[in-house]
């Protein structure tokens, strides 16, 4: 690499290095916060594991088995040590390595979240492009969005199931593995997200359409469609992009409920069980995965910001 090249790429590499270090710090902080929160929750893990069928000695055996008899600082140090070696530990209730419990659950959740995310983005872009600045369409779309973003995910899922699965038998009731099984859950999960996204997007587009440059572009004789898609939409994407973090959060959170309604495999049901039974290793692994996704997404958003908004490149 020539000196010129290093000078050219230096800031970018430095920026990247900073990002990676900050990302690791976020993961550590998330894991630590979750570790402390779980320890602060009431109830002794060994008692929970022993359940109703307890007998003298069971609790002690369980504590020895999981190292719960050690001081909390030692448990924390051991946890970090294992983590550094890529070992997420063993689930207390499922008594299996967390990686083998969670590993197969990641893909179904990713499939669902991505499908719903794409659906939400496509639907909101369409809605915004078609209805921005058009009062009648706007009123209709806005009502649909309000309903979509305020009805509970659970209820939407059940209604969709009753109509399209139980009654019309177009889609299977539950499960994963086929595209057909993904349709209803993806729509269910996409609906509230799409509702919020299209409202934000349309607002931004309408603000853009009021800008003086729009008049200039129109004066050049550009068609309305080109105007909206190539110019207004591009400007409106910025505020939407800033919502990416929220989008990921709402998709992951909504996935928990959606997965349980549709009895889909995924991180959702595993997480629910793990939290209520204080299954520490599983909860910590899920927290780490979620934090990792956030870090990756926010990095991507930064990069995208650069490519969309030229003003940021020189800054």
């Amino acid at each position: 690499m020539t000196i010129a090249a290093i000078q050219q790429h230096g800031p970018l590499l430095r920026r990247l290095a900073t990002r990676v270090v900050a990302g690791i710090a976020v993961l550590w902080a998330a894991a630590t916060a979750a570790f402390l929160a779980l320890h602060a929750m009431p109830g002794n893990v060994a008692d929970i594991l022993a359940g109703d069928n307890t007998y003298p000695g069971l609790r002690e055996s369980l504590e020895r088995q999981w190292g719960l008899d050690k001081p909390i600082l030692v448990q924390y140090a051991e946890f970090l040590g294992r983590l550094a070696h890529g070992d997420l530990g063993t689930s207390y209730t499922m008594r299996q390595p967390v990686t083998s419990v969670i590993g197969p659950q990641v893909m179904p959740t990713v499939e669902l979240a991505v499908a719903a995310g794409v659906l939400a983005v496509v639907a909101s872009v369409l809605a915004a492009v078609l209805t921005a600045g058009r009062p009648r369409l706007r009123a209709f779309s806005s009502t649909v969005e309000l309903v979509g973003s305020s009805v509970p995910v659970f209820w939407v899922g059940i209604v969709l199931l009753m109509i399209f699965s139980f009654k019309l038998k177009l889609f299977p009731v539950a499960g994963a593995g086929s595209v057909a099984a993904l349709v209803l859950p993806a729509i269910t999960l996409a609906l509230p997200t799409a509702g919020v996204l299209s409202q934000v997007l349309r607002d931004a587009m309408e603000r853009t359409l009021d800008q003086p440059f729009v008049t200039t572009v129109r004066a050049r004789g550009v068609s309305e469609a080109t105007m909206r898609v190539r110019h207004a939409l591009k400007h409106a994407l910025l505020p939407v992009l800033s919502l990416a973090g929220w989008l990921v959060g709402s998709l992951l959170g909504g996935a928990v409920i959606t997965e349980s309604v549709f009895s889909r495999p995924g991180l959702g049901s595993v997480t629910l069980n793990a939290v209520t039974t204080k299954d520490m290793p599983v909860v910590l692994a899920v927290v780490l995965i979620a934090a990792f996704v956030y870090v990756v997404v926010s990095t991507l958003v930064d990069v995208l910001h650069l490519s969309i908004d030229p003003r940021l490149r020189t800054a």
């Binding site: 009431p42 008692d47 659950q105």
Partner: protein, 550 residues
Amino acid sequence: MVTFAFGRAARALSAAVLAAGLAGCAQIDAPATVDDTATPVHGGHLTWGVTTEPTCFDPRRTTQTNGYMLERNYIDSLVSKEPDGGFGPWLAKSWTVSADGTVYTFRLRDDVAFTDGTKFDAAAVKANLDDVVAPKNAENSATYLQSYAGASVVSPDTVRVRLKHPDSSFLESLSSVQLGMLSPKSLKLGDALCGGGKSLSGTGPFEFGSYQRGQSVTLVRNPDYDWAPTWAQHQGPAYLDSVTIRFLPEDVVRSGALSSGQVDVIEGVQSTDVSAFKGQPGFQFLDGPSSNTAFTLNLNYTRGVLKDIRVRRAIRDGFDLDTAVKSLYLGHYDRAWSNIGPDDAESDKELVGAWGDDVAKANAELDAAGWTGRDSDGYRTKDGKRLRVEVGYPEDYVRDHRDVLIQGIQAELKKNVGIDLDLKIITIGEFTSQETNGTWSIYPNTMNPGDTALMETQLIGPTGFLYQAIKKGNDQTLYSWMARSLQTKDRAERERLVDQIQQRAVDRAYIVPLYAPTSQLAATTLVHGLGFDPNLDTPASAYDFWKERS
């Protein structure tokens, strides 16, 4: 936690909507009526929708009762519990008990093999029992083997088990799936057995096929199976080639999956959905027995205002339980009289009609106890303190609208006698910390199935999870009866003691039994051989199930 609370509301709402939708579906799907004496069909595949996905597929390492009907498909037991309460042969052909009740000698069948090819013999029995009690394994099932002293292999088909003291619950415990027999090869895998798979090998009519977490388990027929217990409806291998068990935790989804033909059988039908299947063409509905513990309020009689028997009795008698249960469950469940289910042979029949719904007496008791003031909300007070008792109900155990039942009782007690019964939905963690400190007030629960004397001891006895931390104010009379009921070899004496325990617990209002839950099955009429296990109240397994070709 917020999502849960909302989820329940949504469920109630959607159930009502669904009922209308389902009725229509049932009409469309109706096949011709089926003759129940039809010859069983061999082969085929069946899909069974169940409520609960086991967190662990090794029944020794879990207390999830709802998983046992799944686990029974691949695990057999040494002895079987007969519907009449006696015990019959299963993997053991016969047994003898020493005069002092501490040595059991089992003669084993010599034609049994585990699905991994290992032969079932005396060494396998010893390996299983030793595995359960080994402290390093921390198995929940060891609670049933607290009297176990050791086993010795007399010959390949004879095993001798020594107990530390006589144990009237020993055979019952051996008959449970929690002490079922696994291949010695499987035992070596330890905690890995929780994950299921072919390596979880028993002698059952099915073999564990595949598992997709959060979705389903597939079981494959064991073609060599020829050792069914006597209570089974047939002998020889299972009828079905394979069974897929689908985990459908949402009531509405389970019902919808059956009504739309996506599953053949479902277990757990909520009261509002029963009418969609019961008597509907193309469907059948079966209501199971109730021989395990009733849904019961346990009152901590050692603490706070509940120390006063008059307060406890006022809670017990201050509301109309019959009406509460009937209106909530639409007549599908019966109110309970004892904490032992009415279909258990040892449930005390003298308690029937003997208590409850006496508002005048309840008020008199509270007046006598000095709770004579009233605050602005209408609750009774004493020395300016409101008569308030907390019911801590762990979130995860709330099902079947049991929280709604307690809310109904709460309203009645307020109106009738001025008691503030404060229902709090808490986490399991919060409950276990109350349990460890002995600070719980009222705990609503049902108990895992098991021997009656053992159940009472585990519920309200000295070694049970509720009272083990409480060392002051316990009812020693009750405890001494429990100890005797567990040790006696005289069946008549045992029955008398178990009756006395139930009577005392109700009379002194340590417990307020509420209703007798049953397990329900709904299925298409193409499915036959459905039934319930006398031990579990749920279906035993899919062994007797068969399906007509449509």
